[in-house]
């Protein structure tokens, strides 16, 4: 199916290109990935052990309860997962899983291969000075300026001039890959849902792509993906 446009030559021609407005900020989301299907892990976190089983490509079991889940693959061995209101990173290369459940971070090794590898850790001031726009769809983007450790100045299109400093927790997963967790409201009239209060992104500063989710009250978390443009 194609949308028909009136061409300057005076005839109707087809044009498959479109803004995908119906998909909103979820437009550029990657195809869901099913590689974790059939894998079981025990996260050895500081406060105990957490079992997570990927029953199939669409359903997982966490601490004895089943949930539908979504998974996007960002890098050869690194996956972003989203289920219920829990988001996280499965890093099969380093052998670690990090889950964000409300205010709680559950992080730990999941296999002997993690021994000797770097655990996910606070990014400190790694990202300070970085100023990027993450383009999530046609004309739909979020700007992020990491102004200080724990702080990020953000804006959303089409009100990219209206910037707000929000709390941000950044975790270095490995190399140039960071898990960024930004909490705070959005302004009215932007491309994110009005009740958005949290954005969690796994960001790759080598390939300059991100996968993640947008959360808030009154709507199901939205899986997103996109690419970056530097703004400074």
């Amino acid at each position: 199916m194609s949308n028909m446009v009136f061409d300057k030559g005076g005839v109707y021609i087809s044009n498959l290109a479109n803004n995908a407005e119906q998909l909103g900020i979820g437009q550029y989301r990657f195809p869901f990935n099913f590689e974790l299907a059939g894998k079981d892990f025990t996260i050895k976190a500081e406060d105990g052990e957490y079992d997570i089983s990927f029953i199939c490509g669409r359903e997982l079991e966490f601490r004895g309860k089943k949930y539908p889940y979504e998974c996007q693959k960002l890098e050869k061995t690194t996956y972003f997962i989203l289920f219920s209101s829990i988001a996280g990173v499965v890093d099969l290369g380093q052998g670690y899983i990090t889950l964000i459940d409300g205010d709680k971070y559950i992080s730990g090794p999941v296999c002997p291969c993690a021994e000797g590898k770097n655990a996910p850790a606070c990014a400190g001031d790694d990202m300070v000075g970085t100023y990027v726009s993450w383009i999530l769809g046609c004309g739909r983007f979020m700007t992020q300026e990491f102004s200080a450790p724990g702080k990020c100045v953000v804006s959303w299109s089409p009100r990219e001039g209206d910037r707000d400093e929000l709390d941000c927790r950044a975790t270095k997963i490995k190399g140039p890959i960071y898990l960024v967790d930004i909490r705070g409201p959005v302004r009215t009239g932007v491309c994110a849902p009005f009740f958005t209060d949290r954005v969690i992104m796994l960001q790759d500063y080598d390939h300059m792509m991100t996968v993640g989710c947008v959360m808030g009250k009154g709507f199901d978390p939205i899986s997103v993906a996109g690419y970056a443009e530097f703004l400074n």
């Binding site: 995908a20 550029y28 001031d125």
Partner: protein
Amino acid sequence: MNLKEYPRPHYAINQFTQPHCTELCGKKFHFVMDNGFDVDLDFTGPDTVNWSIGGSEPKEATYECLKGDETTYLVDYDVRETLDTDHRTNHLFVIDLEQRLVTKVICSIGDNPRFPYLVKSEYDFGAIETEGHELTFIRHCFTTDMVGTRVEWHWNTSMRTHHNYFSAPFYRLTWPEDSSSEDEIGEPFQFLPSHDEVSRYIKIKDKMYLYCLTEELQERVLNGKCPFRSNNMIFLQNYERMRHVGRTFGSIEIKGKVVPCRTLFGAFGNPLELPEKELTAYNAFTV
């Protein structure tokens, strides 16, 4: 640290490439092809596949796999026995598990005695044999659906190109002035009479197309006057989400030696308004 300064490698069209997908590992397929030479693919590992065409002895290859959507895979591999020869061959498949359909493209180099680097492409369509289901008679197919479509593709943080799919056998490539495209891919166009190139368009499903481009006119006209030799680029384009994934197969001259040019790529798209002069420019390669 401003992560803009992160010491990343130089990327041209491959920065926004999605990671290789290993979901097909452990799966076996039998494709019933319209040309009568059926294909068997046995994905034996995360990047190895045993392939057989027309009942031939299975051979192992190293494959690449990208996803166009949840159930549509772009799989390709170079035939190992042809590597390091003048007759390299690449097999590419669009494996469509939703409709149980397949498109096969076999690309080869070295068939044309006058232009030894020219890529020749052969297309065939078929159905995936699936237990419990009758073979379907519908097929992926060549199409003119895309004619009239114009897209700005974002390949990396600084490179954008404009694709104008203006006729069934051709497309036109331009780029905005502030894109790094001029530096990355602009050289051959200084010597070419127009920005048009040979194309094939295949419909995979609603809003998903396989766009196949071969740098054939460029090779015929320039024949070694620039480093880029004939390349075949195949894009699996998702117009629901306005993005594509794909691969190149061809040759490039580096330090006086012609070597394989192979990469995976991906890009994000935007609708595009083109200036009148680009829309009405003459295709200098046609009568």
